[in-house]
Symmetry: C2
Subunit: 303 residues, 2 copies
């Protein structure tokens, strides 16, 4: 199988990768289109000691599903956390936090920058016929954006600031717009010029300690800061202001696929104009280099 | 007026302090009993550059209330944040976070370790006749403890860990007990032996970076850590686990006086056995020294 191999911070396209195998209850999916995410770029820089095929945003077609052949041929997107189903966390219903989880293209499971991948059937969601691949490939990041509204009540009149006008920040802003909130999207430079202590909710999509500092500056007393992207390394955080201002900090990760599929299918969130480039799988390293450029939006890879 | 004077980290009892004056809408209160809090000890160590009379936990008697003479003679407790009433934060209703606030014994307002203090009438709450001074003096810290339940939903079946078995931790635990949650109170040593990633809510009353690290270890994915005391200096916090585990961190400060008065008056929270010592005002420095000892509970000062 052909795929992009990451090891020791190096990316290389290889043709000799082992064929993904469908474990019990799993399917093999032929990847049609995959997206490059900030986390992929972080993996290259050693954010998590992952060696293997990266990639966790994809749309594909079921190629094999032993014992569940009716799935074969269906166009699907897939949730990235493969859960054990039996640990205390799974039993409580928090399957995306399973203690023994593997995560597509991130932890102990080869990912989507390859011709084929394997995922549990329980993770797959059929894609409605009218939804093109170029929109369906955004289901995973849009679901992550929609997760915010599962965690924080946001409605008309709320002043929400999204920090980081990149691929994630724009998707977050678009996912929040239908709530009727008063929305502002700012990069670091614009954020420094905003009124301090005025936002009800700040969503930090910068993933940088400087971004967090700006978020703390912008949020009002008793406001909420959503940490929407993982941070590089330690961010020194003075906690006394968090107590004195009674701030709430909320870590936010994977979100609801059905809601994301519905939002895309019903046209409530547009994504096509977020695509900045498209590369064949053999040029995946170039796709990563492109995605790492400043202000570059979504880069897609096509096996 | 006699009072305890703090300046440059030194405490001294002085007899020559200016008489507190009741500004417009304010009252002068004769202090009957005051309590030493961890924040007072922090002030001595320079947590905030305060020079003046410390002390913010008290019960007293209204000595003067220009234009509102019916208050004179009433036994009262008092909220510590004196708000302007007109800044955006006040207008929004978050008066304890007023941008221009003074805070009794903490910021720009002399406090309770003195014969008399001044506070706005709006801050005062009459004490029910049956409630002795020795219980009423706990209204302020108990209100702060009850604030947690305004911020985080805690009910039967929730596993709550209170870190720090000191004067604040015990009060927090007693305030949480009526909720029906499964409650554990632990010091640093016991906390290290607890099952990791198992508590739904951890309330950190240690005010130390080590306490926070233990809280992070003890809380389950998607759980909540309440930061109940101010931290000494910078606490380095690695935020990636907060995102990956989708933790919620909640800063928590001052709370509802009416609820605290009711809990004490109805006997739902016992406090008398938390009193570890009682000193006359002239011996207030010795009271502070006693309160700073390891494991010492509430020390009271009587003008």
């Amino acid at each position: 199988v052909r795929g992009l191999w990451l090891e020791g911070g190096r990316l290389a396209v290889r043709d000799d990768l082992p064929e993904p195998e469908a474990g019990p209850g799993e399917a093999v999916v032929r990847v049609r289109l995959a997206g490059v995410c900030g986390t992929d770029l972080e993996l290259v820089h050693g954010y998590y000691p992952f060696a293997g095929v990266p990639g966790h945003e994809f749309v594909g077609e079921v190629a094999a599903a032993p014992g569940a052949e009716d799935w074969v041929g269906r166009r699907v997107v897939g949730e990235i956390n493969a859960a054990c189903g039996s640990c205390p966390t799974c039993v409580r219903g928090d399957r995306t936090h399973c203690e023994r989880r593997t995560v597509l293209g991130i932890k102990d499971r080869h990912g989507a920058f390859a011709e084929r991948l394997a995922l549990p059937l329980a993770n797959l969601h059929p894609v409605p016929e009218g939804l093109p691949d170029e929109a369906a490939v955004f289901v995973e990041p849009l679901a992550a954006a929609l997760r915010i509204q599962e965690q924080v009540r946001i409605g008309p009149g709320d002043r929400v600031l999204v920090l980081g006008p990149g691929r994630l920040g724009r998707l977050v802003a678009r996912s929040l717009a239908p709530s009727g909130c008063t929305l502002e999207v700012a990069g670091r430079r614009e954020a420094a010029a905003l009124a301090p202590r005025s936002a009800d909710v700040v969503v930090d999509c910068t993933g940088s300690p400087q971004g967090l500092a700006l978020a703390r500056r912008a949020v009002r007393p008793r406001g909420t800061v959503v940490l929407k992207s993982t941070y590089h390394g330690e961010a020194a955080l003075n906690l006394s202001p968090v107590v004195v201002d009674e701030l709430t900090l909320v870590g936010s990760r994977c979100g609801p696929f059905p809601a994301a599929l519905a939002a895309l299918a019903e046209g409530r969130v547009a994504v096509r104009d977020l695509i900045a480039g498209r590369y064949p799988l053999v040029e995946a390293p170039a796709a990563f280099a492109h995605a790492a450029g400043p202000g570059v939006l979504k880069i897609l890879v096509e096996p």
